[in-house]
């Protein structure tokens, strides 16, 4: 039985097996980060115009007719949001493939030939993630809406946080189980999921996930620290070009870092499943 370290080391090395496909996945991430930079810029503009409007008129924001707001920009932001959601479905589909390849112990990275299949898998992945987060979300929303009292709200949000964590740990194995059997039903087969986890041992299971997340966070924090350093230097030298520079840095980060992190993380998740069914 391979140890935790072996799984994580294998996962870290895995994306280097095929740099081209890593970059292919990176293109998707780069698109999303570019869009999100653009979106945040636009939303800031909308916010600024709206504040300006409210200041100059006697009405409050809720009484204001929709046509007075910067409609064009709002539509643009909504459209961009939808586009980035669709791209993220493709990314989820790709992650599905990575977990699959990991379970099948293939050394190469999955390709991009089956675009439609990727999209369908992405929807499946997304549905499972949403389904597992429904219960804690409901608890949290009910808590916020029904209970106004501050101390009770604190307790309820803590309960919701614990539920989120439990749901997350189950979710990892559920996704693996779904991918391994290639059926959506298996994602909700709690007996099998819990049997798999107990087979591996709860301590080891939780430990490996937490360790993976720590490694992931360290890489992300370090790289974004370096990138923000570079951004700062560039902005200082090329003045008045802050937007272009942050755009550029966001693309770089999406292209190399986010894709690497996602592939690494899903690879390790897949190998957890391999360990659990031994």
């Amino acid at each position: 039985m391979a140890s935790i370290t072996d799984c994580v080391v294998e996962g870290l090395k895995y994306p280097f097996n095929d740099i081209k496909k890593l970059l292919g996945c990176g293109v998707l991430f780069a698109l999303i980060s570019a869009i999100s930079v653009f979106m945040s810029m636009k939303s800031f503009e909308i916010f600024r115009t709206t504040v300006h409007l409210v200041e100059n008129s006697t009405q409050s924001l809720s009484q204001m007719p929709f046509s007075q707001l910067p409609t064009g920009d709002i539509y643009l932001v909504v459209a961009l949001g939808i586009i980035s959601f669709i791209i993220s479905l493709f990314i989820l589909g790709y992650q599905y493939d990575i977990v699959k390849f990991s379970i099948e112990k293939k050394a190469e990275l999955p390709g991009f030939s089956d675009i439609l299949g990727m999209f369908v898998k992405g929807i499946k992945y997304f549905l499972v993630v949403v389904a597992y987060n429904i219960i804690p979300s409901i608890v949290l929303i009910c808590g916020v809406v029904l209970v106004g009292d501050s101390s009770a709200l604190l307790i309820i949000s803590m309960i919701a946080a614990v539920l989120f964590i439990i749901a997350y740990f189950l979710l990892v194995m559920a996704l693996n189980n779904m991918v391994a059997h290639d059926s959506l039903k298996k994602a909700f087969d709690f007996n099998e999921i819990i049997a798999n986890i107990s087979n591996l041992g709860w301590g080891k299971y939780i430990g490996i996930i937490i360790f993976t997340i720590i490694v992931y966070m360290i890489i992300m924090v370090a790289v974004s620290f370096i990138l923000s350093l570079i951004t700062g230097v560039f902005i200082a030298t090329i003045s008045n070009q802050a937007l272009a520079v942050s755009f550029f840095v966001a693309i770089i980060e999406g292209l190399f870092v986010d894709s690497y992190g996602a592939i690494f993380y899903n690879r390790v998740c897949g190998s957890i499943y391999m360990e659990s069914i031994k």
Binding site: S3, L12, I214, A222, I226
Partner: protein, 243 residues
């Protein structure tokens, strides 16, 4: 026994100056955050070689192959150290919170007791966490072994608490002495240069700047890596001193 450890570790660390320079380069880039884990990972490798080796044997210096594994090992070491250091930290916080509720003499008395207890805990936690890392390395890097308190306590009991603490104190003293002596020698040389230059009519400030530069270079590329390998090797060898 303790002197044997020091002798072996001092010789071992001086085996390969290339390794020292590579470690120095990593150390130079450690402001980028990721190389920090490479440094701890390399120390882990040294410990790993030591706990599986024999004292005064011909253990080779670990290489720099498989950087990713080194990084992951480094992350593990850092996690173990943080986890052990959390205990005294939490105890200190508890004391501080309770003392904050009290007033007057009771508060300061409690705070003094808290500080003493925290200090004792820090010493114990340092001991335990170094031994924990050795124990982890000995058991092929199994994470749970780093926190198997009873096993680690048995190991320390077999070595002897006095021996352990004496070795640690010795390590601290040797580290400080070497670092200070090297710095003192370099500054001494350059002070002589500067004074003789000044007597001959040259401006001594350039010579002093050069002295500071050379001192920091030597510390970073030679002395720092040497001492870190020395410490890791000594602790690893201490672990093998069980009866």
């Amino acid at each position: 026994m303790i002197l044997d450890i020091y002798k072996d570790a001092l010789e071992y660390s001086a085996k390969d100056w290339k390794t020292l320079v590579i470690l120095g380069v990593i150390c130079l880039f450690s402001f980028l955050l990721l190389p920090v884990f490479l440094l701890t990972g390399y120390n882990y490798r040294v410990i790993n070689t030591a706990v599986h080796g024999v004292i005064n044997g011909r253990d080779p210096m670990p290489g720099f192959d498989d950087i990713i594994r080194m990084f992951v090992d480094g992350v593990k070491v850092v996690i173990v150290q943080i986890a052990y250091m959390l205990v005294p930290f939490i105890v200190f916080i508890i004391f501080a919170v309770i003392a904050g509720q009290l007033s007057g003499i009771a508060s300061s008395a409690l705070m003094i007791i808290g500080c003493i207890i925290t200090f004792a805990l820090i010493v114990v936690a340092c001991l335990m966490d170094q031994m924990g890392i050795c124990h982890m390395a000995y058991n092929d890097g199994a994470f749970t072994k780093a926190f198997a308190i009873s096993e680690i306590k048995e190991v320390i009991d077999e070595i002897g608490w006095f021996n352990c603490i004496a070795t640690y104190l010795g390590l601290i003293i040797i580290t400080i002495v070497i670092a200070t002596v090297v710095t003192a020698i370099i500054y001494g040389i350059f002070t002589v240069f500067g004074i003789s230059g000044a007597i001959l009519g040259a401006d001594p400030s350039g010579i002093f700047v050069l002295g500071v530069l050379i001192n920091s270079l030597v510390t970073m590329f030679i002395v720092g890596p040497y001492l870190s390998i020395f410490n890791a090797r000594s602790i690893g060898l201490l672990y093998t001193m069980q009866i």
